[in-house]
């Protein structure tokens, strides 16, 4: 296919060919360059000490131990809150509201608007509501809850799509066998909706783990090891931002941290797709 298209053929087709492949090449090249740059500068920093040691001299030296812990705690709070609410809302939207009903339409519209709101706005909201109104202060809890608000729209909508993608025949045949709605939901619809849920999770977690703006005002800057969820904790992305913008001589460690972040993201993506294939296959064969 690629070889048969040459200049001698229809010039418009040739132009389209060049544009399409050119665009793909630019995207891929940018990604490779970015990754290469981070690898080049960051790889030398990477070591077990770097991953576990506390930062010294505002992060110029030392490692990112407490920062990794804070990041995972924030992410944990975010998931613990957003997963149940997200799946619950998706079930409600997909299975228990009319497609054209007012409630469903309004909820979906609101979610779509929320999904497009810039993260800094979520940061300000989280600061006003979680930190001040609820009195949680600058804390991992505030940060996690704010992230939860931010990823919920994506999570709900893609899980809902997962439920909608389940063929109607499952529901009909389950009902015809006298299975209750709850059983149908738990044993047939939920497993079938898992791919949608996983897509939502990857998108949501990816957004959450790389988030800076929403966390600056909520979980804060403190780079000590957090002792509880009510302590302030510095997330990885904020650490990178701080090192490269505010700390002279922090570039090397910034690259190291960025590399860790990228590897984490790739790991999350890989695990999710592995879970989706292996987990689903097991579900189909044995459960």
């Amino acid at each position: 296919m690629v070889k048969t298209l040459s200049r001698s053929q229809n010039p418009r087709e040739w132009l389209a060919f060049v544009l399409v492949w050119g665009a793909a090449a630019v995207v891929t090249a940018t990604f490779c360059w970015l990754l290469g740059d981070i690898l080049w500068h960051g790889l030398s920093r990477l070591s077990w000490t770097f991953l576990t040691a506390p930062p010294e001299s505002a992060g110029r030296r030392g490692g990112i131990g407490p920062i990794l812990v804070s990041t995972f705690l924030i992410l944990g709070v975010c998931l613990a809150v957003s997963l149940p609410i997200g799946v619950g809302t998706a079930v409600l939207l997909a299975e228990f509201t009319l497609d054209q009903g007012l409630f469903g339409r309004m909820t979906r519209r609101s979610l779509d608007v929320l999904a497009g709101v810039p993260s800094i706005v979520f940061g300000l909201f989280g600061n006003a509501f979680f930190c001040k109104t609820l009195g949680l202060g600058f804390s991992i809890l505030s940060g996690g809850l704010t992230l939860a608000c931010m990823v919920l729209p994506i999570l709900i909508r893609s899980t809902e799509e997962g439920f909608r993608a389940v063929p109607a025949s499952y529901r009909l045949s389950a009902a015809a066998l006298g299975l209750s709605r709850t059983t149908t939901l738990l044993h047939l619809l939920l497993p079938a909706a898992v791919p949608g849920l996983i897509v939502g999770l990857v998108l949501g977690v990816g957004r959450a783990i790389a988030e800076t703006a929403a966390l600056i005002f909520t979980s804060g800057y403190v780079d000590r090891m957090p002792e509880s969820l009510l302590d302030s904790g510095r997330a990885l992305s904020i650490h990178i931002f701080d090192l490269s913008m505010n700390v002279s001589g922090g570039d090397a460690n910034a690259y190291g941290s960025a590399l860790v972040l990228v590897v984490l993201l790739l790991l999350i993506n890989g695990t999710a797709s592995w879970l989706a294939t292996v987990g689903l296959h097991r579900k189909i064969v044995t459960v």
Partner: protein, 279 residues
């Protein structure tokens, strides 16, 4: 919920012979002036029909005359469609089907349904049968495997799948999937089977196998089958009913013994339809 006794114990000692005249008509389902609307649109109107116990009743008629909709009234699958309105009366045995207090779960356990497109769950063959059984209260492992084997033998699938019960049901051929769906319905020991064009999505050989199976089920179950295949209806049905679209809504044109409907129809529309001139 009471555990399900294996089908074998409920089977009559003497299976009726396979002649279409299998048993004396004895009403099992009584449908009285039944109408169904999807929102503003009427699917069928004013259907009054009696269905006899243990016999095969064929529902024939052109597409869109409300045959599928009629079937879904009998097991109240219509409850799943939000804008669907059913009026009239259906009595099965002594049960008032449309009464709000009727336990639909029990009703649907008594009345199995087979769909046009085979629709096994994306589970293993075993789980497809085990899952509904468990849901209806059968937990004992040996009882479960007996019930599964009996159901699979009933549909002639046992020898084909006994070595791969744990492989995905969706890997079976279309005909095997349809027989698995029939087995899944039979495993719950229903009294009646609703079959919506069960052979029309299958190749001719599978279709023949499923048709033979339906004939073998005669007598044990009251069967109401929708079919587009008039030759098939002639071969298997004891009774027949013809639906037709009239002024935008389905109507029952004529019902009676299959022999009479196919050989000596009273209504000119029926005569035209069964002779292949219309429909």
């Amino acid at each position: 919920m009471t555990p399900i006794e294996p089908i074998a114990e409920r089977r009559p000692q003497h299976l009726p012979n396979d002649e279409p005249a299998c048993c004396k008509p004895h009403p099992f389902v009584d449908v009285d002036r039944l109408s169904l609307h999807y929102g503003e649109k009427s699917a069928f109107q004013d259907v009054t029909l009696s269905i006899s116990k243990g016999r095969i009743t064929a529902l024939v008629g052109p597409s869109g005359c409300g045959k599928t909709s009629f079937l879904t009234c009998l097991n109240r699958l219509t409850d799943l469609i939000p804008a669907c309105l059913v009026s009239g009366r259906i009595t099965i045995d002594t049960l008032d089907v449309l009464a709000p207090q009727t336990d639909v779960i029990r009703l649907r356990r008594r009345i199995g349904m087979i769909f046009q497109k085979p629709n096994p769950f994306p589970l293993s063959i075993r789980r497809n049968l085990e899952f509904p059984l468990r849901e209806h209260g059968l937990r004992d492992r040996t009882q479960l495997s007996t019930a599964i084997e009996t159901a699979l033998r009933d549909v002639g699938l046992w020898d084909e799948v006994k070595d791969r019960l744990d492989s995905p049901a969706l890997a079976l051929s279309g005909g095997q999937q349809q027989r698995l769906c029939i087995a899944r319905a039979l495993a719950l020991s229903p009294e009646m089977l609703l079959m919506d064009e069960p052979c029309s999505a299958l190749d001719p050989i599978s279709s023949g196998i499923v048709e033979d199976l339906i004939v073998r089920l005669r007598g044990r179950y009251t069967i109401l089958i929708v079919t587009h295949n008039l030759a098939q209806a002639r071969r298997i049905a004891n009774d027949a009913a013809l639906f037709w679209v009239h002024n935008g809504a389905g109507r029952l044109i004529e019902a009676g013994p299959a022999k009479q409907i196919f050989e000596d129809p009273r209504d000119p529309l029926t005569a035209a339809y069964v002779s292949g001139m219309r429909g």
